[in-house]
Structure formats: structure tokens, C-alpha cells
Amino acid sequence: MSLLELERVDKVFGGLAALKGVSFSVEKGSIFGLIGPNGAGKTTLFNVITGVYEPDGGSIRFRGRDIAGERPAVIAAGGIARTFQNIRLFRSMSVEQNVMVAGHHLHQSGMVDALLRTRRYYRDEARLEKKAHELLEVLGLGPLAAEPAGSLPYGSQRRLEIARALMLEPELLLLDEPAAGMNSQEAHELEHQLRFLRSELSLSLVLVEHNMSVVMNVCDFVHVVDHGETIGQGVPEQVKADPRVLAAYLGQEESVPA
């Protein structure tokens, strides 16, 4: 059984079919690349998987259970974390707070504990802070813990979103263009971090990415969509050579992605 299985998923906005019978499955422990031209439906797929949109047809199974149509918070608590293409941080909060706020499952003390500042409350706060700092270290944001999140440079904000998502201790992490706006050196570091997450946190990753060198370097399997339809899939080498993919993606058959 695959970790995540999509079967013939449809999504319609008014008269526009954003997703037309998309099926794929993500194996546990893999890094799965989702590529396609702008407007192909990649982010819509993320939104359907994470419950932001309800699919109009098909099924989405996570660990064998159908999660289609569940609320985003329920899906997130169930083990699927994500980042956003247009960064969505809590900008006025500090870097550390941005990560801590995602630790609901580590915080068992309730409102009364917070009101009376019980020992349980302090224990949970300490646990949250420790875990948040560990994650910030992993993503190289340790020294920035006290800064307001909105003041970070773009690349660090992307990594902070990953740290926040990891605070949920997910099994599956969906990354929406993690390398956007990064230079080649930063992108290279990101590749290392993604491999590290997979091996050290036994995480499975789905990656929407336009940076082809990142996709080809880290992904085990690539799925290509265009106009809401699957147009190709396979290991990176296969996809790279697929004429249909090249036609849709590059608009011409001669050139080869870097």
C-alpha cells in the first residue's frame, strides 16, 4: 500500500476543469516530484490533498484511509504538512513562535493550565521550545530564532515554512516551490536538506518545483501534469526524454532541460 494514493481526482472551478482524472501514488520514504507548466494544476492538487478544496470526483487515500473533503486542520493533524507557494508565515511573530505554534500535539495542557500557569503548562512550553529549536537548527535558522519572521530574507522565510510544517511531525510533507527565488548555491543546499529530511526524519516528500536541476537531482519519481491532466510520469531520466512532456513543458521538442 502506498502512503498517498490519488485516484481519478477531478476539480472544477465554474466552467474550468482544473483537474481531470489525475491519479498517482507516493511511496513511503520517496521524494516525489510534481511538475508542469504554470497553471497546470499543481497547486490545485496540493490544495485538494490538504483539504483547502474538496475534490469534485475521485478519491484521495492517505495510509489507506479516504481523506477527500476533510477539513485542512484534520488532515494536517493526521500527518500531511505543507508549505505555500506564496509564503504564508505569521509575520509579526518571531521565528521561534512561528514554529512553536504548530506544536499543538506536543501541548497537552489546556486553558486552565495556561490561566494558572501550572507546572504542566511550563513543562509543555519547554517541550515546545526545545523541539522548535531543534528544527530551526536543522534548517540553519537557529541564530534567527528571536527575529520577527517578516524581516527574514526570502530564502530563510521558505526554510522557516518548512520548519513550521515539520513541527507537526508529519509523515508526508508537501513543498510548493521550495527553491523559488533561491540562487544555485541555496538551491544546492536545499537539495541536501531535503535528502536529510528523508533519511533522518523518515519523511516522504512531494515537491512542486520549477527548478529542473533540483527536481532531477533529488526526486525518485516525477509526475507531469498539464491543463489538469497527467501527461507523463516515471523516473527523472524517463521524463526528461518523454517527447510529450518536452512539448508541453518547453513548447518545442528540440531543447533538453538542463
Binding site: T50, V52, R71, P72, A73, V74, A76, A77, A81, R82, F84, R88, L89, F90, R91, S92, M93, S94, Q97, M100, V101, A102, G103, H104, H105, H107, S109, M111, A114, L115, L116, R117, R119, Y121, Y122, D124, E125, L128, A146, P148, A149, G150, S151, R164, A165, M167, L168
Partner: protein
Amino acid sequence: MSKSPTLRVVVVATLFVALFLAGVALRANVIEYVQRIVLLAGINIILAVGLNLINGTTGQFSLGHAGFMAIGAYAAAYVGVLLGPLVEGWCGPGLLADGLTLNLALVVGAFFSACAGLLIGIPSLRLRGDYLAVVTLGFGEIIRIVFTNAEFLGSATGYFGDEPAGLREYTSFFWVYVWALLVVVGLYNLTFSQMGRSLVAIREDEIAAEAIATPTTRLKVQAFVISAATAGIAGGLFAHMQAGIRPEDFRFEKSIDMLVMVIIGGLGSISGAVLGGIFVAVTLELMRDLAQYRLVIYALLLVVIMIVRPRGLLGTRELFDTWKKKSGPSQGSRA
């Protein structure tokens, strides 16, 4: 706040004694007119800090808190009139009976306001967006009209309690500031906890908050109910400060007063709300002769504040941020 339980008890006990002595001193040395302003300032603090939880911290706009205050006021007044003689018969007239009656009345008032908050909050806070502002705006007016027409609560003339005892002035400096302290410390502790962090997250980006498994609807409703309950407490204290309450005391302007307190102090800042509450109590008295121009003056004041300090006096910061930066979860300042 200290971690050691014994130290905490000592601190709280000292504060209570100090408040009691301050109350006695105030009663002996200051004219009644000033005493009244001091009480109103305390009630305003409760109102402002309570409203700040929903309007400032959570970023959901309530425009009808006068309605919750009215419910608390009428419920507390009714219960006070009902229970006053009973409690006096049970433990004899005196400070103890007065305090007991007042606090029972306040708890009942807060309970009714909280129930109203739940009723209003559940349908309007399930959705994202400004539904709450519209619903609470209507709610505040409806409540006032209900009280204007409720005969057993005195209709438009107001509620003065039945003979022989009537509505009594149980509210004292001590109880106003005990409650103000409870509300300020309680909401401070809530704001600087995982719940408060999550409320700020909802204010900053509700979609992202959902994506990190925040139970957004539940938290918004909880915050709104707590906020309504504090308005109810303030209403109860207000009702027992004088011999009668009228529906006119809880007009839309009252909701605007509260909003002004929170905005002047800085949306999202508890210490700002405290300052705003005191400020409005004092200026309202100073402007008594200009009462009909009140909204004009408020408008001017708000325009000036928006120009000089667009986020209010303190922004989202707290007065004492600087020396507690490391120790606790601060909300940080806006970049």
C-alpha cells in the same frame, strides 16, 4: 509570573490587601465625583482588555460588545435585587453580604453574556471574513431593543429593582479592581500561551493556521465567548455602581467607546487596552459639557492617532516587553 506556588500566594494576598487599603483611603480622602471616575476607569479596563482579545489578538471584529455588557448588566442587576435580601438574611448586613451578592450577580451576568456569545459566535465565526462585525452590529441593537421592551426589566425607563430594597450599589473600588486584576492577568496568561499564539496565527493568516492543524473555529469561538463574558462582568459592575440601568446606557456609541479604547492603546496589546480604558474614562468626564460632540472628537482623535501612531500607542507590543523578552513567548513586534 513566578513559578513558585508559595510566592504566588504571597503576591496575590499582598495585592488584595493593597487594593482593600487603597479602596478605604480613596473613600475617605477623595470626593465622590472622582471616586466614580476611578470606578469607571476600572470597568473600562475590563471592557477594553476583554474586547482586545477578540478584536486585537484574534483579529475578528466585534462591533456589538455593548450588547454583551447590557446582558451582563441586566442579569447581574436582576440577580442582585433577588439575592441581596436573601444573602443579608443569611449572614447579616455588611461588607461580606455585599461582596457575596455582588460576586454571585457578576458570575451570573458573565454566564448569560457568555451564552449569548456562544450563540452569536458559532454561526458567524465558522466562516472566514467579516461576518462577525455585521452580526454583532445587529446583535447589539437587537439586545437594546429587547431590554427597551422587556416590562419586567423596566422597559425604556430602566431597571431600578423592586421595592423595598431595589437595586443597590454593591460595586466598590476593591471589587472593581479585583476583577480588573483577574481579567488582565487571566487574559495576559491566555494570550501568552499556546492558545494566544494560535489566536495571533489566525489573525495573521487563517489559511496557514489551518494548515498547521489549528482548530480555528473552536479557538475563535472560545476567544469570543471569553470576551463576551468579560463584557458581562463589566456590565454587572456598572449596574451595581448606581441605582439603575437604562437601555440607553448600552447604545451603539458604547460599543464605539470600547473600540476607541482598544484602538488608542494599540490593537493586540493588553497594556495598551488598559491605558486606553483609563484614557477614555477620563476624557469622557472632561468632555461632559461637550457630550453631543463626542463622536466628532473621537473621530478627530482617531484620525490623529492613525497619522501619528498608526498601530495605536503601543502597537501589538506590551509595556513591559523589554525586560521579559527572553523569558516568555512574546508575540514580537510587527516588522
